[in-house]
């Protein structure tokens, strides 16, 4: 890209002719047209974000105060009625408990497994890239497909199920994994998400591990630290920022869980059982299930869930910052 002589300077030099004030448009475009280019690259995405994310969020908030059955331009204002209906709905409250149980199981488990794999792989001298790919590949599988495999093959409650076949070989009997008569469905739900996401977070943690200066380890080694003490006093504190991000992402993703729950547990008639029902699934069933279209109720539910995620996020941010400040002291 070559510019006509006299109109451009070198990097950082304003393209001004001596004694002349730049035009308004020129100033708006900024040095080397940086503002122009910034706008050109950012605006399409900003427009997409506005149209597809912020406008729908604002619209949901608006709808949540109306009776909006089968319409996006409702007229009947109902105030907080949709909110009070949901908050007094015992099934909605118990769906929040399902989320908590899911998060308590999946967040620490994924973190520990990802960290374990990251530590193992970063200590590996040969074939590191190969194993990194091996563990990362499941991330590319869709939740829907994985859920179908889990449901039809692995955790099928009949004698055809892979795990049940193995159990019978070992002298056990068939387990109805997903039927709700026991808590077997949690095994399916947690193992599925673990398999799908552990590789992704492993990569994030490997990146975090690579950022820890080698000198720190050398200094610690000279002081006689090794093994568990290295992990406890060097690796984990240095990984704090990455870990905070990983845990936050894990939590938000757990909150947004829908696909694997729906595809593992929903009935063939479009119904969903009362157990293992996280908030998004419950909201979908009561506001959009079948041919239902109660957008006011759905909007109110979305707002409540957004508020809860924000509270969690702020709380976690606060905890992490407190930890950093303590370390700096």
């Amino acid at each position: 890209m070559s510019a006509p002589a006299g109109t451009r300077g070198g990097p950082g030099i304003a393209p001004l002719a001596a004694g002349r004030r730049p035009t308004w448009g020129r100033r708006l475009r900024g040095r080397q047209d940086r503002n122009l280019w910034f706008g050109l690259f950012v605006l399409p995405f900003l427009a997409g974000l506005l149209v597809f994310v912020y406008v729908p969020i604002a619209w949901s908030a608006y709808l949540s105060f109306f009776e909006a059955r089968a319409t996006v331009t409702p007229t009947k204002f109902v105030g907080w009625a949709n909110y009070s209906y949901l908050l007094s709905d015992p099934e909605f409250r118990s769906s929040l408990l399902v989320f908590v149980a899911f998060a308590v199981l999946i967040v620490p488990l994924t973190y520990v497994c990802s960290l374990g794999l990251a530590l193992l792989l970063s200590g590996l001298r040969v074939a590191q890239a190969f194993f990194r790919s091996v563990f990362f590949i499941p991330t590319a599988v869709s939740y829907v497909i994985a859920a179908m495999i889990w449901r039809i093959s692995f955790f099928n409650g009949g004698r055809f199920g892979l795990i049940n076949s193995m159990l019978r070989q070992l002298g056990g009997s068939n387990i109805d994994w997903l039927g709700g008569a026991n808590y077997g469905y949690w095994v399916a739900l947690v193992s599925l998400r673990l398999w799908l996401q552990v590789g992704f977070y492993m990569i994030l943690l490997i990146a975090g591990l690579n950022r820890i200066p080698q000198e720190t380890y050398e200094a610690a080694a000279i002081d006689g630290a090794a093994g568990w003490r290295l992990l406890r006093y060097i690796t984990l504190p240095q990984l704090r920022a990455t870990s905070a991000a990983v845990l936050m992402l894990l939590l938000i993703n757990a909150f947004q869980a829908f696909d694997e729950f729906w595809n593992l547990l929903s009935g063939v008639n479009g119904t969903y059982p009362p157990y293992g029902r996280p908030p998004l699934v419950h909201l979908f069933v009561i506001s959009l299930g079948g041919s239902n279209q109660d957008l006011g109720l759905g909007g109110a539910g979305t707002m409540i869930l957004t508020a809860i995620i924000v509270v969690f996020g702020v709380a976690q941010n606060w905890l992490t910052n407190r930890g950093v400040e303590r370390d700096e002291r």
Binding site: R69, A70, N174, S291
Partner: protein
């Protein structure tokens, strides 16, 4: 490869060409096939109508509906064959400018569509012909004295059994639920379950049957609350609870209830299934099969079968409402030959006009005829005011009772309360 601006342009051109090609096909679900709202009438002669169908599983159905549409003389009908979640797509499309003028919907339009003014009254389309139609279906399509759709074909569910297996076990075809349990137990072997109604133990598909077969309706006569919270209903649930715990109820099979494979493969002696599976069953067993309604439960019970009828509705905001209604009348009231073809040539369905049943070879005699008779005499469909939240609460309570062994009366009391508040919300 270095990407140049020209490359980008050609890529963009390619995309545009693809989009243009996509717009050519009228039945791919992607085209802006909104008929009168955006297309309007072409050339001022014939109006253009957009008609939507869900994706039928049977081979040849798509070609058939295209053929019917093409032979309509008074309008240009563009058929959209919608693959995907049709039940959600239609209500969403009705909120936009890309909506169908004519669309089919399971058991007619939803309450939301009627109350939202999204569909038109079809009573005059049926006119005096209404008496020719299956009255169970017409009753289901009627709300506040008006008929909101014209039924196309009827599908139903029923119980399959094999006379040879019953004979071997020394039992008769069951007409009561306790006889069904006894027959299932008598036919159960090490390799074969007695009765199968889905991999959830039948909770999902049979839930409403327990209401109807116990002699009740879903809602009370004023539609202000549930119509079945009675001791007889609870006794029926307790009876099924006990059946669920026995080995005679097969709770897991190679396919779910809507596929006759478990019955055909000999995984189960009896199966709850769909009329659509009858050709498969016939092919496998010849004359050695029979069909029954779900048997009566308890002392106040009666046999019952559920039916569903995809029915043609007309969108109220269509610019050609009259043309759309005329097309629906032409196809689903007057064109009886096409109706017989649609019901009989692609899978097994029941035509909605009773007089056409004998012309459909698959249901003119034997078990097919039994099935057609059952819909007329013992057919039930979900009440139009049986909304998503009520159905969901009902299913949850049903799972807790049957699968987890909870007490029916205490599980269903909150369902009753929820139904009252929900119905009040809808009516109010």
């Amino acid at each position: 490869m270095q990407i140049t601006r020209r490359h980008l342009l050609t890529a963009a051109g390619g995309l545009a060409a693809t989009a243009a090609l996509a717009a050519c096909g009228s039945n791919n679900g992607l085209s802006n096939n909104s008929g009168s709202s955006s297309g309007g009438s072409s050339g001022g002669s014939k109006p253009t109508l957009a008609q939507w169908y869900h994706q039928y599983g049977e081979a040849g159905t798509k070609e058939a509906v295209n053929k019917y549409a093409a032979s309509y003389p008074d309008a240009t009908v563009n058929v959209t064959w919608y693959a995907g979640n049709y039940d959600t797509a239609v209500p969403a499309a009705l909120l936009t400018n890309s909506f169908p003028d004519v669309f089919e919907y399971g058991n007619g339009p939803t309450l939301d569509m009627i109350k939202g003014g999204q569909v038109v009254d079809m009573t005059d389309v049926l006119g005096s012909s209404v008496s020719k139609f299956n009255q169970s279906v017409i009753k289901r399509l009627t709300f506040q004295g008006k008929i909101w759709a014209v039924p196309q074909v009827i599908d139903m569910q029923l119980l399959y059994y094999r006379p040879s297996l019953l004979n071997k076990a020394g039992v008769q075809p069951p007409t009561t639920f306790s006889a069904l349990v006894d027959a299932a137990k008598a036919q159960t072997t090490k390799d074969m379950g007695g009765f199968f109604a889905g991999n959830d133990g039948g909770v999902g598909v049979l839930g409403n049957m327990f209401v109807w077969a116990s002699g009740f309706d879903q809602l009370n006569s004023g539609r202000t609350g549930l119509g079945f919270l009675e001791p007889n209903f609870y006794d029926s649930l307790k009876a099924y609870q006990a059946f669920y715990k026995s080995n005679a109820l097969l709770k897991s099979a190679s396919k779910d209830w809507f596929d006759a494979s478990p019955f055909i493969n000999g995984e189960t002696a009896m199966q709850w299934g769909g009329l659509w599976s009858m050709p498969d069953v016939q092919k496998a067993f010849g004359n050695d099969f029979g069909v029954l309604a779900f048997p009566a439960m308890g002392s106040s019970g009666r046999p019952a079968v559920p039916f569903g009828a995809y029915s043609s509705c007309v969108a109220a905001k269509s610019k050609n409402v009259d043309a759309a209604k005329a097309f629906v009348k032409w196809l689903w009231v007057d064109q009886t030959a096409d109706q017989v073809d649609f019901a009989n040539s692609y899978g097994t369905h029941i035509p909605s006009q009773v007089a056409l049943v004998p012309q459909c070879t698959k249901i003119a005699q034997g078990p097919g005829k039994d099935a057609a008779d059952m819909v007329a005499k013992e057919g039930f469909a979900s009440d139009i005011m049986w909304t998503g939240p009520i159905g969901d609460a009902f299913n949850s309570a049903m799972t807790n009772v049957i699968v987890k062994g909870a007490d029916p009366a205490s599980e269903f009391k909150p369902v009753g309360d929820k139904a009252v508040s929900e119905l009040k919300r809808i009516n109010g």
